[in-house]
Symmetry: C2
DNA sequence: ATCATCACTGACATCGATTTCAGTTTGGAG
DNA sequence: CTCCAAACTGAAATCGATGTCAGTGATGAT
């Protein structure tokens, strides 16, 4: 490995001068140093620089599952911000597991300048200790109990659940099932509350056998749907609280040859690239994905720049939006409530 | 920040002893050191360790696009391997651009122990210099001209193209279009060659207006399909060389109200989670995704362990597999060649 | 020619952990 | 009780880059 000393020797100056050159300060032997660097193919050691400066120019990003298109888009948004900065992204999956998340965080804290996290549960306290290590922390997609003093980029999950419920209500559904995500995550809990609460206000109870809880993974959507179908009186509509579970529901419904939306309407949370191309095209609650990543990364970088400056936490909450496609319709044989369907809104 | 000196002072030993303790060597004052570490909440500085050891315990991963489900799965496979190791993944997108790739690589080389790369083009020579910096390099999905001396995990792209062609031939198609990926990438070039070559051997030429080249992104699939449809004599079948472009084709076909496979058959490369749920369910050439990531990471870690040992390059080539679903059928109004469809094989 | 000012330079300490080397302690044998 | 080998310990050098500080050389004014 070629070091700053080698360059200095070759250029006939001291290492200090080469260092000054690197940082853009004026130097008498500019050309000689430049030449030495080029000829030797010198690049400063990142480890040595980190040790001296205390900065790694690395951002840790921990998400439950990078193969979930939502998180892939979020991460890409983050990267679009770091592209023009000297920062790189250290990525890890938690697989929706607090233990894995804790492990990964403990390791990351030593290597990064800041962390963006979509926590596996709201209850874990470990992430709070990240901050003890002087590593700024930003939440994305999900919040943490006691995390109010941290920056966060979230969406109005409660509102999203409400939109889904209102949509199904407007269509005239009364036997409505919810397949929620893990209830100790922010989106899992709030989407369900928004959905079930709105139905309740309209006088419609979601009985326990319709009120199911999955784990945000496709398989749970599949299994829970099968259990719904085995009920003596299956629901006429299903709300699935994320993209992957929605896919699971869809698969189960296909496998069981259920007509959508003829027999059962389906509304999901989070759109998919293939959303409009599915059979049937999916009605979903959509939200910004790429943008959430961008915002989260900007918040973190801002905090890194104004180090110490403290300042109160920025908590950004974005709106969700109903996208009506063909997977929802009035319940079988029922009359559609005229065309309120199109005009019904928030 | 609490350093090894602080721990040493508290435990009443020298830093050297604490260091030995950390590395698992026997130490007389075991309890005292352990206690000091716990009480102070000490974690060794990664930067200092890297500087001393010359290892960062970080693997650089550069892919064209993490939102492509294929690459997301590959990266997840890689991570499943590093989970049980002390390694972390530094992730970057190249956006299918050589310039971005070069930039990112130049920076990564200083920070990682090894790099796994899906190069944006076969022609760029920069990645070869990565190796000059003593950073092992493994290719995944795509190869590089002159990269034969590096480890690689690839698939039989040529064979995949052939399988697609044979499938369409067996169905009786003669007016067949190919939407290839960038031709200076391994998969772009080879999939096209396998496809067009197999058709040629069967006496079927793909005329220039059917022989189109996209950029692996959805939009190009969409645009090129529109151009195919505007032809006086559109093809009866389309082969799209990756998942994203296949989606673009599908969208265009939907938008133009073309019946699939009634008017046009569609076969894609790379399966999607939603593949079976699309309208119509897609016939595709499938290949291992997660597994490719696993293999690539294993190759790299092996090289890191047996450092210096050199050894010749491991070039793994996996097989592709035809998955027949409903997006392909005999050309409109034509007789299907009995049931050879099911028995036709490699 | 002399001196003050300014721009630039190099020696050296430093960041935090590891490793070497020359001790010191321990335990067991005699 | 003495001695020796084995087990352990600490001081100091080291990894590579940077910042401090005390200079050295150049420039301009007198």
């Amino acid at each position: 490995m070629v070091t700053i000393h080698d360059v200095a020797a070759r250029a006939g100056v001291s290492p200090a001068t080469v260092s000054r050159f690197l940082r853009g300060q004026r130097v008498r032997s500019y050309e000689a140093v430049q030449a030495a660097i080029d000829e030797l193919g010198y690049w400063p050691s990142a480890a040595a620089q980190s040790l001296k400066s205390g900065r790694t120019n690395t951002i840790g990003v921990v998400v439950p599952d990078i193969t979930n298109p939502y998180f892939a888009a979020v991460v890409k948004g983050m990267e679009s911000v770091t592209r023009t900065e000297p920062y790189r992204i250290l990525l890890a999956n938690s697989d929706e597991s607090s233990e894995q998340e804790d492990d990964v965080l403990a390791d990351m804290v030593r290597r990064v300048d800041g962390i963006i996290l979509a926590p596996a549960t709201e209850q874990d306290e470990t992430p709070l200790h990240v901050h003890d290590a002087d590593v700024p922390l930003v939440f994305v997609d999900r919040d943490l109990a006691g995390g109010e003093r941290f920056d966060a980029v979230l969406v109005d999950n409660d509102g999203g659940g409400r939109q889904a419920a209102e949509h199904l209500l407007a269509l005239g559904h009364t036997r409505v099932a919810a397949i929620s995500g893990t209830l100790d995550t922010t989106p899992g809990r709030l989407r369900r509350e928004g959905f079930v609460g709105t139905l309740a206000k309209a006088g419609i109870e979601v009985p326990p056998e319709y009120d199911l809880v999955g784990d945000f993974k496709e398989h749970s959507g599949y299994q829970l749907t099968l259990s719904l179908l085995s009920l003596p009186e299956p629901p006429t509509a299903i709300f699935a609280a994320n993209n992957l579970m929605t896919l699971g529901v869809l698969k189960a419904l296909h496998d069981m040859r259920i007509d959508i939306p003829g027999q059962i309407s389906l509304i999901g949370f989070d759109d998919l690239d293939t959303g409009p191309l599915l059979k049937p095209p999916l009605t979903v609650i959509d939200r910004p994905m790429f943008e959430q990543g961008v915002l989260a990364m900007r918040l973190l970088l801002r905090r890194l720049d104004h180090e110490e400056s403290g300042g109160s936490a920025s908590r950004i909450v974005l709106d969700t939006k109903l996208i009506e496609r063909a997977s929802t319709a009035p319940p079988g044989g029922w009359p559609a409530p005229s065309r309120t369907r199109k005009t019904r809104s928030r």
